[in-house]
């Protein structure tokens, strides 16, 4: 079909973004068994802060574009990492031993606080991403891809590889994996769970910041409410891949992006015009529900046996 390749391209881009966000969810869940509802908002903050920095640096004209972008990305990442750390410290740490319901409700509370704080700071209107990137399109096989899209996919890939190396080749990564398996046992082996958890949040937040910047750059705008849907979809992706599994989050993200893109493209013709692409957001939810009902361990998750 003529749109197939295009939808795949779009899906890859979308999926890369989902994957980056999903990583934050999956890592935190793996260690704390907590859905960090606030993670979507952290993504949003990343986008907003980057835009804010660019808005400050660019108009003067004195700062070269590349430097401005670097500062924007770096600044956003820094802010988000601090934010992630703060959230963990203030809201989640006191509830480490609390029932899961309590922690979950707190996470929802934090998410609401972040969202509404953003609304108060940046207003309810859409915020446009400054025009810094010259979009260049490349045609191939009936589809087109832009330099921005290529950048997003490559950057995401780079970050994912870096994360995999971190998790599987470094001491910190080993500590993270150990803590995810059994925090008490890891502590007995000399791993400081607080440091590991803090690191997990920081890394997740950094990735989220980049994802947030990608989203705002891609769509040209940011909005205080954008974190909610993004977060939900990314979480679905994490579940799809197998919650707690880093490679799974990456796989899940890409898959979800492609499924959503193809779905949006084909749902009209498939349902005889009854459902349109405005139902796009529903796909992620359906995927989530299907996965949880039929294969709760996800694609790459371990099939844990039943316990007596």
């Amino acid at each position: 079909m003529d749109i197939f390749l295009q939808q795949i391209v779009n899906g890859l881009v979308l999926g890369s973004i989902y994957a980056l966000i999903a990583l934050g969810y999956t890592m935190v869940y793996g260690i704390l068994e907590l859905i960090n509802f606030a993670h979507g908002e952290v993504t949003m903050v990343g986008g907003m802060v980057c835009i804010a920095i660019l808005q400050v640096l660019l108009p003067a004209g004195s700062v070269p574009v590349v430097v401005a972008i670097a500062l924007g990305v770096g600044g956003a990442m820094l802010v988000c990492m601090l934010l992630g750390l703060a959230i963990e410290r203030v809201a989640y740490r006191p509830l480490r031993r609390a029932p899961r319901l309590t922690a979950l409700i707190t996470a929802i509370g934090v998410s609401i606080v972040l969202q509404n704080s953003a609304m108060l700071i940046w207003g309810k209107q859409y915020v446009s991403f400054p025009e810094v990137i010259e979009i260049q399109r490349y045609e191939f096989g009936g589809a087109h891809i832009t330099n921005l899209q290529i950048t997003i996919v490559l950057l995401a890939l780079l970050l994912m590889i870096a994360l995999l190396m971190l998790v599987y080749r470094t001491r910190l990564g080993r500590a993270m994996r150990a803590t995810a398996q059994s925090p008490d046992l890891a502590a007995l082996m000399g791993v400081n769970p607080n440091s590991v958890i803090a690191a997990t949040f920081i890394i997740g937040a950094a990735l989220a910041a980049v994802a947030g910047i990608m989203v705002s750059a891609y769509y040209g705008l940011a909005h205080y409410y954008m974190g909610f849907l993004l977060g939900l979809k990314a979480f679905s992706a994490a579940v799809l891949g197998g919650i707690g599994n880093v490679a799974g989050a990456m796989l899940g993200g890409i898959l979800l992006g492609i499924v959503e893109s193809l779905g949006a493209g084909y749902i009209g013709p498939l349902t005889g015009g009854f459902l349109g692409s405005n139902y796009q957001d529903v796909f992620a939810f359906f995927v989530l529900i299907l996965v949880l009902v039929f294969r709760p361990s996800g694609l790459l998750g371990e099939r844990v046996g039943e316990r007596a």
């Binding site: 068994e33 006191p94 929802i108 509404n116």
Partner: protein, 377 residues
């Protein structure tokens, strides 16, 4: 100090004459409330009380799902929406139908209960967090469908919603008009108050009865330890679905009343944040405790009004309104959730059982830390 008061309170509770006296006083207060409020604070406050009653019904319904059975439903508002849209579609110019309220409300309860079973069924094997996310997803799906089911066949009229909904009318007596009874003027908000009050009291009554029953115990057992509950012969699937259905039915009734009362509904009234607000009500008020839930609902409904004074305060202090108090509403809710969960997780008026659950006594029995896949059968 508190133990002395607690003992006195228990003594008072068991004194039959005291209970009777308390009931009568409360009855009189409730009967006169709209008039007193109308005089002291203005008629608009009676409308706020009406909404508070609707929210109390909602909160009590969610209390069954979350408070009794321990199922974290984040998409609860979908059932409210079902009840509201059913009323709107059956009693408005939209389809040209004008069914009477006594036919629609029971239907609303049943249809909502049906949705409760439908949405609950796939979630039965899921553990806490996942259950929350899936129900959240369902809530959103319902809202998205409500927003988009206006083409090709216009069922819900899309984002514009349904308006000109028939006001509720009982035996030819329309609650939408001002009436005069025995020389006393009864604006429509007053008459609605009495209708809502009766239904709220009925729901409170049902909640109390359910709490102390075989089903109520089964819900608590499932909440405590689902595996053990099943091992004791409880059909956990059916009992959980029953919780969903009952909670949803309350929302369905409340939704129908809402549609008739407000005369206009749209998908915007049924967002995730409405679900979260109802959850806030029971979490802050005291999960599982009927009095706590009622208190939570009252506080949260009344709260935006209190915020208005914040606006006036700012006017006084700064000469202008820096921050629109309405925007602060959700922010404060979020903060309240976090603060309450960290410092007083059982809520303002916790049920006796909840206070035990959150108390710091060392327990001889250590509950097994349930794993992700525990209830997956």
């Amino acid at each position: 100090m508190t133990t002395v008061w607690r003992r006195r309170w228990h003594q008072l509770k068991n004194d039959r004459r005291a209970a009777l006296a308390a009931f009568m006083v409360m009855g009189i207060v409730l009967a006169l409330l709209p008039f007193v409020t109308g005089e002291l604070l203005g008629r608009s406050w009676v409308r706020i009380i009406d909404f508070a009653l609707l929210y109390i019904m909602l909160a009590l319904g969610l209390n069954i799902v979350v408070g009794y059975a321990g199922l974290l439903d984040l998409g609860y508002i979908a059932f409210y929406a079902v009840g509201a849209y059913l009323y709107a579609l059956l009693a408005s110019p939209h389809f040209g139908l004008h069914w009477p309220v006594w036919a629609i409300l029971p239907m609303g309860a049943m249809v909502a209960a049906g949705f409760g079973v439908l949405l609950g069924a796939p979630t039965l094997k899921l553990r806490g967090d996942y259950l929350a996310i899936v129900t959240l997803g369902f809530g959103e799906i319902v809202r998205i469908f409500l927003t988009n089911l206006n083409a090709p066949v216009n069922i819900t009229n899309g984002p514009q919603g349904v308006s000109l909904i028939d006001p509720i009318s009982i035996g030819g007596f329309s609650l939408g008009e001002t009436h005069s009874l025995l020389g006393v003027t009864l604006p429509s908000t007053y008459t609605y108050y009495y209708l809502f009050l009766v239904l709220t009291l009925a729901i409170v009554f049902i909640s109390i009865r359910l709490q102390d029953s075989r089903i109520g115990r089964a819900w608590v057992a499932i909440r405590e330890d689902e595996v053990a509950a099943a091992a004791m012969g409880i059909n956990t699937r059916n009992v959980k679905l029953l919780a969903f259905a009952m909670g949803a039915s309350f929302a369905g009734v409340s939704g129908g009343l809402f549609a008739g009362f407000q005369g206009f509904i749209s998908p915007e009234s049924f967002t995730l944040f409405e679900s979260v607000i109802v959850l806030c009500m029971i979490v802050l008020g005291g999960m599982g405790n009927i009095a706590g839930v009622v208190l939570g609902a009252l506080l949260i409904t009344v709260f935006p009004e209190a915020l208005r004074y914040l606006g006036e305060l700012q006017q006084l202090l700064f000469g202008r309104v820096l921050v629109d108090p309405n925007d602060l509403r959700l922010l404060v809710f979020g903060l309240a959730l976090v603060v309450v969960m960290i410092f007083r997780p059982a809520g303002l008026l916790p049920s006796v059982r909840r206070r035990r659950e959150f108390s710091a006594d060392e327990s001889v029995l250590t509950q097994e830390q349930a794993s992700l896949y525990d209830a997956r059968r």
